[in-house]
């Protein structure tokens, strides 16, 4: 059926054809972006930016709260830190946590509250997010293995926290309403583009 055979198509016919073409185009499955037809979720999209920034701030608050309350109560002498590491025997980390607890006790006492606070702050303001999240993964690995709350399987809240920090690294969430978006435009970062692996 061609247009030439019936002359000028009626407005109704033209609308039906146009709608059919649109429907076929929109219904086509896009392997690169399976959500494209239902919900715009491109990495540069508004909803993506909103959600990743929200997730980053909440994750940051989680660590900031944990760190700052330790600072308020114990200052830089969080004695439970080395004790916690010393009891981590027979884990997949081998003797590493116990050795850390025995020989780096003074550092652990200060770095647990300070580290948690700085990681949380970094994530909340969106500065040095990837670097902060690497330390977040390190902390969460120790908590996941140390707490060993595997009663309902390996995937528990500690592991989900670990995955949250991994997500911050993979998706460079500091670039969404975060200071890293501004920092990455500075001359220093443009001269040393590898800094973006620590920012973002």
């Amino acid at each position: 059926m061609g247009f030439h055979s019936v002359g000028t198509p009626s407005p109704l016919y033209a609308t039906v054809v146009r709608n059919s073409i649109c429907e076929v185009t929109q219904m086509s499955y896009q392997a690169a972006n399976p959500l494209a037809d239902d919900f715009e979720l491109e990495l540069g999209g508004a909803w993506t930016a909103y959600w990743l920034a929200f997730l980053r701030v909440v994750t940051g608050w989680w660590f900031f709260h944990a760190g700052v309350t330790k600072l308020i109560e114990d200052g830089l002498a969080y004695s439970y830190g080395p004790m916690y590491l010393k009891q981590m025997t027979g884990t997949a980390l081998g003797p590493i946590p116990v050795l850390m607890g025995e020989h780096l006790g003074w550092l652990i006492q200060a770095m647990v509250p300070l580290g948690e606070t700085l990681i949380g702050l970094g994530l909340m303001v969106g500065a040095l997010v990837r670097l902060a999240s690497v330390f977040g993964v390190f902390f969460m690995s120790l908590f996941w293995i140390g707490n060993a709350g595997f009663g309902h399987g390996l995937v528990n809240s500690d592991f989900m926290g670990l995955l949250l920090f991994m997500t911050m690294i993979v998706l460079a969430t500091g670039r969404y309403y975060g200071l890293d978006a501004i920092i990455e435009k500075t001359k220093l970062v443009k001269r040393h583009p590898k800094l973006r692996y620590l920012l973002g």
Binding site: L93, A148, L154, I169
Partner: protein
């Protein structure tokens, strides 16, 4: 923008993903099929006595996940050390058809 993955990128993704999924999912299925306890912790009675232990040692499973994370960490270090991928600035020339 199209991203190009190198062999190293693919190897890092495959190895880290494989190790972590093996530790969490595959051995998790094995644990379920082996009967109680279905999780990676020993089962105790009301008195606190252990009545069943996991078939797969949780140390092995967590170790596999940590190994996967280690692969990703090493990949991150590699990306920091290796020269950056430079985008070849190619401009398309318009050629008149014959």
């Amino acid at each position: 923008m199209q991203q190009h993955t190198t062999v190293i990128d693919k190897a890092a993704m495959a190895l880290s993903g494989g190790l972590m999924l093996l530790g969490v999912v595959v051995l998790g299925i094995v644990e379920i099929l082996a009967g109680k306890p279905y999780s990676a912790a020993p089962l105790t009675n009301d008195a606190g006595e252990i009545i069943a232990t996991p078939m797969v040692d949780p140390t092995l499973r967590t170790g596999l996940v940590l190994a996967g994370l280690l692969v990703l960490a090493l990949y991150g270090v590699y990306r920091l050390v290796a020269p950056m991928k430079t985008e070849t600035a190619t401009t398309q020339q318009e050629i008149t058809a014959d």
